[in-house]
């Protein structure tokens, strides 16, 4: 297959943990080493042999990654934090070199790893457009030609000669994206820049990127945690998992693989490993909270949870609950066993209680999960189980609005008055 615009072959990037640079690389070490070699017969070459304990501190951000991207393709790169997405983009953008392997690129690359790179707070909007444009690789005449268009896109006409430090954060982001959106590279690399800005502007950005990709036939590499945005923009996707990838595939397959994979490590939470609150009544314990097999944490998807408990004696009038709190601390969903059924009576032993929600109503985002066990109105055991991320599911048509707490099933009926 020779029809590519980016070809990545056996790409590996190794980082050393702890101190930024290679170990013993400080000035003092270098001097020490130099002085020592003056006085001893041991040469510098020997020293390398004596220092084999490096491996423990090494971290492979990318491990032998190979794939090809065709011209005009819009590729969504997804994966958990730390999977190597940013490292891949940084190598493609030539910010950092690979440790081994190589990449062939055909065409001019522009990368947008951050909105407003190089913006100076003391400079005015106009001045920053020129500066930022030049940093992104535009020529002065190109910027002059597009100035009006950029200002209009950012909707900051009135403030164009005000220092950007006086801008609201929304204006700042709009201006920064506007400059980047008017780049004309053959290959555009975009990293998670839509996480900022309000919903309306996000929509505008996606529209602009769609336009860039479709009408101009450019290649776009897009990294995002917002599956709705990836779905909307990309036809192909690529999943990175701990520095490795299976290469590009149809975007829906890749997103499903990601969602299934997403909670794999923590879809079973061993509650004996988290801190429990202590209560006088300790006749029972919460043991384990788990996500049912094949169940994802997708918004709008079915949600099935198992809560395993141990009872040391027979306990009556038991209520079990699972609560979902937003990261700001608002409880937006509670599943209490007595709401859907009667209160329970347990004999001594172990039990599994299953909660089934037909359609997960939680907006995409991170939720703190709490579990509790009551008997006769008094708390027996409770704990903060951990954090689960709700992601956009396959049936999500409204995409992530980022507000509104829960979205439940309901019907609308309109009558003329």
């Amino acid at each position: 297959m020779s029809d590519y615009c980016i070809s990545v072959e056996n790409l590996t990037k190794k980082y050393r943990l702890g101190q930024g640079g290679p170990s013993g690389d400080g000035l003092r070490h270098q001097l020490e080493r130099g002085v020592r070699s003056l006085f001893s017969r041991r040469s510098l070459a020997d020293e390398k042999v004596v220092a084999p304990k490096k491996d423990a501190n090494e971290f492979l951000a990318l491990n032998n990654v190979s794939f090809q991207i065709k011209p005009g393709e819009v590729l969504g790169i997804i994966g958990r934090n730390g999977a190597g997405k940013s490292t891949l983009l940084k190598i493609l953008s030539r910010i950092t070199p690979p440790t081994s392997g190589q990449i062939r690129v055909r065409g001019r690359i522009a990368s947008l790893l951050e909105v407003g790179t190089g913006f100076h707070p003391d400079l005015t909007g106009r001045e920053n457009i020129f500066l930022n444009g030049a940093i992104l690789g535009m020529t002065r005449s190109e910027i002059v030609r597009k100035l009006d268009e950029i200002v209009a896109f950012a909707e900051i006409e009135r403030f164009i000669d005000t220092p950007v430090k006086r801008y609201s954060s929304g204006m700042y982001v709009r201006l920064a994206f506007a400059v980047a959106a008017h780049l004309e590279p053959e290959i555009l690399i975009v990293d998670e820049v839509l996480a900022v800005g309000d919903a309306q502007f996000q929509k505008k950005c996606i529209g602009k990127m769609n336009e860039v990709a479709q009408s101009h036939g450019r290649t776009v590499l897009f990294v995002s945690h917002q599956m709705a945005a990836v779905r909307k923009l990309c036809h192909t996707g690529m999943l990175l998992t701990a520095g490795t990838t299976g290469g590009p595939g149809p975007v829906e397959d890749v997103i499903q693989a990601y969602l299934g994979h997403m909670t794999a490590s923590d879809r079973v939470i061993d509650l004996s490993k988290v801190r429990h609150d202590a209560y006088a009544l300790n006749t029972g314990r919460l043991e384990c909270l788990s996500l049912a097999e094949k169940c994802t944490l997708g918004y709008g998807e079915p949600l099935t949870l198992h809560l395993d408990v141990t009872c040391d004696t027979s306990i009556h009038d038991v209520i079990l609950g699972v609560a979902f709190d937003t990261s700001e601390g608002y409880r937006v969903m509670t599943l209490d066993s007595d709401v859907s059924g009667k209160s329970l009576d347990f004999a001594k032993g172990k039990y599994r209680v299953t909660f089934t929600v037909g359609r997960n109503p939680l907006s995409p985002g991170l939720y703190n999960i709490g579990c509790a066990m009551f008997s006769g109105g008094a708390i027996v055991d409770s704990c903060a189980a951990g954090v689960w991320e709700i992601v956009t599911g396959q049936s999500d048509v409204i995409s992530n609005r980022g507000f509104g707490g829960c979205r439940v099933d309901f019907e609308t009926k309109v009558v003329a008055l």
Binding site: L92, P97, Q102, V105, T117, G118, F130
Partner: protein, 272 residues
């Protein structure tokens, strides 16, 4: 279609082409620094004039009262002015270029461009200051009705020598500071000492024979001496062995600096 190859090895061929295609960024970075420097100041751009004027005034005082520079064919203030000009260019680029990469770490970790442009732009800013100081020197010469002769035509050569030494020193320090922050403490120290071992408040004929050659290892010595020779009608004759030593030092400094910079440049984003 042209193909760019990104690998663990150097990409020498593309580098100089890139440097050329990013030349406008050099201008913008320097423009930013100049623009930002006098924002939110009351006196504003007047600082650009006040600073060299005060430096020259104090320098002249020291030259007369402390260093014992006697009034010769050339007014002391002009002599000190010429020395200050070249020294400031060197010292500024030395100190600012050293910190420049660290100060631009947000750029370096987020976007690609030839990193050489960052210290180079601080030199460009220093050069603008130099031109302002040069204008002040010209004003002083008009005041003293001191007219240079044909030797003034060689002045650009000595300015180039000063720039070569400044860029060389600046690149070395910029690259070294990324890896070894120790240089943030070493640099102000060198700048302080450097003022005394450069012929700013005195003339280098204080040193004789072989000592003058050793003295000329300091690349600013050749530049300042040459500058004075060109401007002051040859009143301060060129000491050829010394000039040669300064020239060789400067060129070597620049070549090794570029080599070291190129070698470490690609890993800046990982280290900074």
């Amino acid at each position: 279609m042209e193909e760019l190859i990104i690998s663990a090895e150097h990409e020498e061929k593309n580098y100089w082409k890139d440097l050329w295609s990013y030349r406008e960024l050099l201008y913008f970075l320097a423009w930013r620094d100049i623009l930002v420097r006098y924002k939110q100041t009351t006196v504003g751009v007047a600082w650009a004039v006040l600073r060299p004027v005060i430096t020259i005034a104090i320098g002249t005082l020291i030259a007369r009262k402390v260093a014992g520079l006697t009034q010769g064919a050339v007014p002391t203030v002009l002599l000190v002015g010429a020395g200050t000009l070249v020294w400031q260019l060197f010292a500024t680029s030395f100190a600012d270029a050293g910190n420049s990469l660290i100060a631009s770490s947000n750029l370096i970790s987020k976007i690609y461009f030839p990193r050489l442009l960052v210290p180079a732009s601080t030199l460009a800013v220093g050069f603008v200051d130099f031109l302002i100081s040069l204008a002040i020197l010209i004003a002083l010469m008009l005041w003293y009705q001191y007219i240079p002769d044909f030797r003034i035509l060689t002045l650009p050569l000595f300015i180039i020598l000063a720039l070569t030494a400044s860029l060389g020193a600046g690149l070395w320090l910029a690259a070294l500071t990324v890896k070894y922050r120790d240089f943030r403490f070493i640099v102000p120290f060198i700048v302080q000492i450097g003022l005394f071992i450069s012929p700013v408040w005195y003339t280098s004929d204080k040193f004789q024979g072989v000592w003058r050659v050793v003295y000329s290892l300091n690349p600013t010595v050749g530049a300042i001496d040459g500058f004075r020779w060109a401007v002051f009608r040859g009143s301060y004759p060129i000491f050829w062995p010394g000039l040669t030593v300064s020239l060789v030092t400067s060129v070597l400094l620049l070549i090794t600096a570029i080599l070291y910079f190129r070698k470490t440049e690609r890993s800046f984003a990982d280290m900074i």
